[in-house]
Symmetry: C2
Amino acid sequence: MKMYEIQDVTFELKKYEFSEPFRITGWIHNEAENVDVKVVLKSGKIGMGEASPSYRVNGEKVSALMALQKDVKEMLIGSDVRNYRRIFEIMDGFSRTAPSVKAAVQYAILDSLSMATEMPVYQMLGGSKSEIKIDKTVGIDELNKMVEKAKRFYHEEGYETLKIKVGENLKEDVRKILAISDATKGASYVVDANQGYSVKEAIQFANATYENGVNIVVFEQPVIWNNLDGLKILRYNSPIPIAADESAKTKYDVYELIRNGCVDFINIKLMKSGISDALSIVELAKTTDTGLMIGCMSESSLGISQSVHFAAGIGAFAYHDLDSHMLLKERGFRGKFKQEGELIKL
Amino acid sequence: MKMYEIQDVTFELKKYEFSEPFRITGWIHNEAENVDVKVVLKSGKIGMGEASPSYRVNGEKVSALMALQKDVKEMLIGSDVRNYRRIFEIMDGFSRTAPSVKAAVQYAILDSLSMATEMPVYQMLGGSKSEIKIDKTVGIDELNKMVEKAKRFYHEEGYETLKIKVGENLKEDVRKILAISDATKGASYVVDANQGYSVKEAIQFANATYENGVNIVVFEQPVIWNNLDGLKILRYNSPIPIAADESAKTKYDVYELIRNGCVDFINIKLMKSGISDALSIVELAKTTDTGLMIGCMSESSLGISQSVHFAAGIGAFAYHDLDSHMLLKERGFRGKFKQEGELIKL
């Protein structure tokens, strides 16, 4: 059955502008440079994936990723995509050097198999859910602007969960969160400090918001990624759940976080872990009663589609922070899903 | 798409005689009572699975398993098998009370999906390998008989890995293993004590065989299943790899074994863990560099086929102890694989 053989793998560089500057701790995003990955089978069927590299988190640069095209093609050409675990394993070598390419290729393999078998990827992965709800993100800005945006997302657009970026100034951050909470009563908040706080600051933030009744459901990566002891101290001194994001790239990272009792939640992103490590992390988290959310880098609708299918297929995520496609200017929608506000249907 | 809906689930009790009594520590097998599980889809496609319950390991009795037929049917009827993770989760409730039924139903679901999509189960699971090598087992017997059997399996039938049952008498066991090793130079041995030794005896066995140059690649479950501290002490005092079998039923068991550093190897059996926990255990073991083997209870060719497809699809097992179908008298071969001695091809 040559039909399932990989005939070609191509990379295409794509640039996207953000609709408005997107600010997080220590970083402002104005544009995204992503890589479309196309896998072509002998049958002519095509699978698509997207790499959205993050220099901040993964140390990736798109120049180096694009330069890998020939290597990846040589590594995969002639492989049978039905034997996808073999291909996953080949790509695992890029876990630290090019995790977003690993993710895009691994997903494109599943997508090509899905095209060939006419079974959507989310069902190939188990079909746990046929719809999920996503959050929408409020970047760092002046207090009034953050409150206005939160009100719009919650009251007008119907997003029940808001993601709020903090981490640059503890006192201001607490003021902002309290103001947002006042203006959007009933909402849930995923608060993300992107490594901006010290352990002591993070404890202060958690207590101050909790005592004021702010409904924070997850407090993401309050401290620097490599401070595992700090995360653990914070976890046991915080009334609200602590999540690892930048600390949790590979399955090995997550095993260490969990066995050392460092966190309540893991934020899985395909761009950090690929499909293969993401599958491992899910099993590890479910076994140890660790909470799971899924996030994104700066994916377009193509890359968000990957995470949507993964999340629905696996069905293990309490929160879906999959909104980057709404922050980018993109010519045409390329997701294999339908979106009605916060609701995403497959 | 009603085609993929489950229309019926039926159980059928099957009895098999062993070709000759099969003796392990504290137990003699003369017959096996297994349950064929059939899942019928609206399309008419049929998926088959087999439960081979073990009272010794799991506390299961076939009477209670057969009595579950109506419940299982009610729990699953109308489900879409493409959403197999939902069904896996429903069956997870039986993890302790009826793990062999959980395994058979979970596999039958995959088999029915495989029939509907015309993709073999091992490829649905990732297609890591298209062939595997199995071992063949020498039960407890008089020294001469064990040696004769080992010689036949190794020299005449070509099995490179022999599984040797020990555990009832340390001194005799060492004599037997040395005699077998002398008579089958070049072979590898998986030695299984089925919980028969004390920790001190197990350390003596490991050292005595190692010092005499016996090529034992895995030493299975030397001590009682609930002695985790004992396993750990043994592990750090044994020159040969220690495996958990009876200690490793669910993914939760395996997480505790691994995080506490108790073992070098895990023996996964679908009859202990089902497909769902087996998948978790594989990810956990691979993340922590723990060795993996796969074993069986008293499955016929139908049940062995399950483990063959699982093992080849996942591709993570160093040893495949999947020979129970060769110990049973079975009317017709029902495996979806071809066997040439130790070689199993898909």
